[in-house]
Amino acid sequence: MSNKVTLGVSVAVLATMAAAAIFAPVLAPFPPNEMVHTPFDAPGVGGVLGADGLGRDMLSRILYATRYTFVATLIATTLACMLGVSLAIIAGLSKGWIDIVIGRAVDILMSIPQIILALIILAIAGVSLTTLILTMAVLQSSTYYRVTRPIAGDLAAMEYVEVGRLRGERLHWYLFKEILPNMVPSLLAQFGLGLSSAALFISSLSFLGIGIQPPAADLGGLVRENALALSTGRLTPLIPAFCIALFCLSVNGIVDWLVGRFSDKPDVK
């Protein structure tokens, strides 16, 4: 029963955040990058949530930051999922050297700390929203590969796949008709987990200064911009941090429910 409550709260929170992200231009009382208040205005004095060190409106900036975090997270996770799962199915179907090459490449990818690898790639390729998303997608695809490769192996050994082989079907048939539909339950859970880890990842990158570049900022970037204010006793940097935490917790709340729904089915015979 408490599972249902968690689910309800999580969905409500995510829906609110998504609405905030989508309608940011309408909802924001001020343009996010303009200095409309006195720097470090307290909440209520200059804007609902006060102003940052440059006098920009905090509420407006958080609404727009949510937008960046949402877009980057969603696109990167979707791409990562597509890439990892496709590779896993190809490896599972072809076995042999293709499987080995893909598998070892993923091993190498996983053995290097992701944040360091991301630093290097972004330093070489230059930081933009596109490179950021692509980098995250490639790095995170390794976890999808890891999770789905054994499932793909099991499914590829199914006799209905063999029937396809006897007919002479091509790769896209196996991908979309035979194997992928049977992966959806386990994939949903992994996708949800991936969303929250991607949100954390992009926030960390922005916090380090190699994510979304100023004056634009995502939630991680906002924490960084306002970190100094903490020492003056202001709580402003905690608000974007709180938003990140809320996002991850809600996603996990939904994932828990999904996993429970798809795996705890009692074996009725």
Binding site: E159, Y160, R165, E169, P181, N182
Partner: protein, 530 residues
């Protein structure tokens, strides 16, 4: 008041929340007696047998009737009391010994677990108990047999070890749940003989569950026929076999066949010619120098025990497991070993049907998707013409067209296998390779599938390579028969000739080992073997 009565179940009714599993069932077992329980899957055989020790699957509960084991009523007893009774008074021998033993522990430790739980036993005492039973069950090297792990012994030996485990607590009642169904016929004989011997020497009662009437008729003193949770008929074995009272029991007896052969209607023209084929996995040769011929419009049965290479040979014909040597010809076309290298038409003309329709049907595709794919792939049929062909195919396999929109999960085992047949028919093949396609089905369902295939041979001009371990089925259905042993074809000829004048000793021993309804068949066999 009968002092010999071990088990009596009276007017038992078992219900789930949604339905009735057992309805008004009454059975009884006396000391030294074997009661056979026969019926199709889902008839309630296991539910009935396990209710004798008050074991019910989750969600099932007895709602009426009484169960008395060893003079003690079990209804309403607490868990602790029931556990004591199960531990001391009854034993259970499951169908799959391989799935029932824990691969992590030595056999003797598992066999002696129950007495070791009840009383403190030293390792030597436990060993001695186990060795005694291993000797009685004629296991090889009984002194050291128990030191082995489950994967180190054969299936027949493992089943015997499980019988040893059942005997170790000297139970009043032993429940045998299809104990030989997973075994080859020749192995089955040994196990059946042992069970029969053990049941009489240990002077306990036994319930013997099977779907094979011939086996039950050899083992049981009395037989109960179950169907849909109801008792159809009950009586002494001979009476039930020789003079069944109900229609259902008559069909079961008739299913055993009257020993008549299928009449060949095909021409003599050879459709498929397999010559000197070798197939192997890595360093292991699974098929050696095998040659078979399939006549046009006829059925070739490929028989043999598990591991003899039947499936491997069939897979090499289909091109799934490439032959290393030899050649496979269809009409006058040489088939390339690997299916990926075969032409579009060659792939279309040879269709393969798997043993387990559950694995051969994608659970996320509707029947329409399943059967429709070969139509669009091989024949470019779309829209109305595809729909019409789909309906024809459903008619051919005798399923309502409304099933097209169902998923496999909502079909029964036999219906699923029909869908698999329709999928291969959709390609309009010349040859169907059927790999044990009825072995997971109940006898009467099997019969209906065979009827369907027989009709299709005529209507669609099919030729069938029919792989089976069931010799009775081969006899009834095939025109020619090939017998495989250890990767080689040891006999190949007209089915009648193979069965009536077998040339090899192996074929003879296989034919003898097929269970028969005849009284004293098992005893006669043991005399022959001795």
């Amino acid at each position: 008041m009968s002092g010999n009565r071990i088990l009596s179940i009276d007017n038992l009714r078992v219900e789930t929340r949604t339905g009735v599993l057992l309805d008004d069932v009454s059975i009884h077992v006396d000391r030294g007696e074997v009661l056979g329980i026969i019926g199709e899957s889902g008839a309630g055989k296991s539910t009935l047998a396990l209710s004798s020790i008050m074991l019910f699957k989750a969600g099932c509960r007895p709602t009426a009737g009484s169960i008395t084991l060893g003079g003690q009523s079990l209804m309403g007893l607490g868990t602790a009391e029931l556990e004591t009774i199960r531990r001391t008074k009854a034993s259970y021998v499951a169908q799959s010994a391989a799935a029932s033993f824990n691969p992590f522990y030595r056999l003797e430790d598992q066999v002696t677990e129950i007495p070791a739980m009840a009383q403190k036993l030293t390792a030597t005492q436990r060993r001695r108990m186990a060795i005694e039973l291993f000797e009685e069950l004629q296991l090889p090297d009984p002194e050291n047999f128990g030191r082995r792990y489950p994967h180190q012994v054969s299936g027949g030996q493992l089943q015997r070890a499980m019988i040893a485990m059942a005997l170790i607590n000297q139970p009043d009642l032993i429940i045998f749940d299809e104990p030989t169904t997973a075994l080859d016929v020749t192995t089955q004989i040994e196990v059946l003989r042992l069970i029969k011997k053990v049941a009489s020497t240990h002077n306990c009662g036994a319930l013997y569950i099977s779907h094979d009437l011939a086996v039950v008729s050899q083992m049981a003193d009395r037989i109960v026929v179950m169907r849909n949770g109801k008792m159809v008929e009950q009586g002494p074995t001979r009476q039930l076999v020789d003079n069944p009272q109900t229609d259902y029991a008559r069909r079961l007896v008739a299913h055993q066949g009257d020993g008549s052969y299928a009449t060949a209607n095909g021409s003599d023209k050879t459709l498929l010619d397999v010559r000197n084929v070798d197939v192997g996995y890595g360093g292991v040769a699974a098929v050696k120098d095998a040659s078979i011929k399939l006549g046009s419009g006829s059925v070739l049965a490929l028989v043999g025990e598990s591991g003899s290479g039947k499936t491997t040979l069939a897979r090499s014909i289909a091109g799934l497991q490439p032959a290393r040597q030899g050649e496979i010809r269809m009409r006058d076309n040489l088939l390339t070993p690997l299916v990926e290298r075969r032409s579009f038409d060659q792939r279309r003309l040879v269709q393969y049907i798997h043993q387990l329709p559950d694995l051969a049907l994608n659970p996320r595709q509707t029947i329409r998707d399943v059967i429709g794919r070969p139509l669009s792939y091989f024949h470019r049929l779309r829209g109305a013409s595809a729909e019409q062909r789909l309906r024809e195919l459903m008619e051919a396999i005798e399923l309502p067209a409304a099933y097209l929109d169902r998923y496999p999960a909502s079909l029964s085992g036999g219906q699923k296998q029909r869908v698999c047949i329709a999928r291969s028919l959709a390609a309009k093949p010349d040859i169907l390779i059927c790999d044990e396609i009825t072995s997971a089905l109940d006898p009467l369902v099997e019969e209906s599938i065979i009827k369907l295939l027989t009709r299709l041979i005529k209507d669609e001009g099919l030729s069938i390579l029919f792989i089976t371990h069931n010799l009775g089925l081969a006899l009834r259905f095939s025109h020619t028969t090939a017998v495989m042993q250890a990767g080689r074809i040891v006999e190949h000829g007209d089915t009648r000739a193979v069965f009536e004048q077998p040339q090899s000793d192996y074929t003879r021993s296989l034919i003898q080992a097929v269970p028969q309804l005849r009284e004293g068949w098992l005893d006669g066999f043991s005399a022959n073997a001795a």
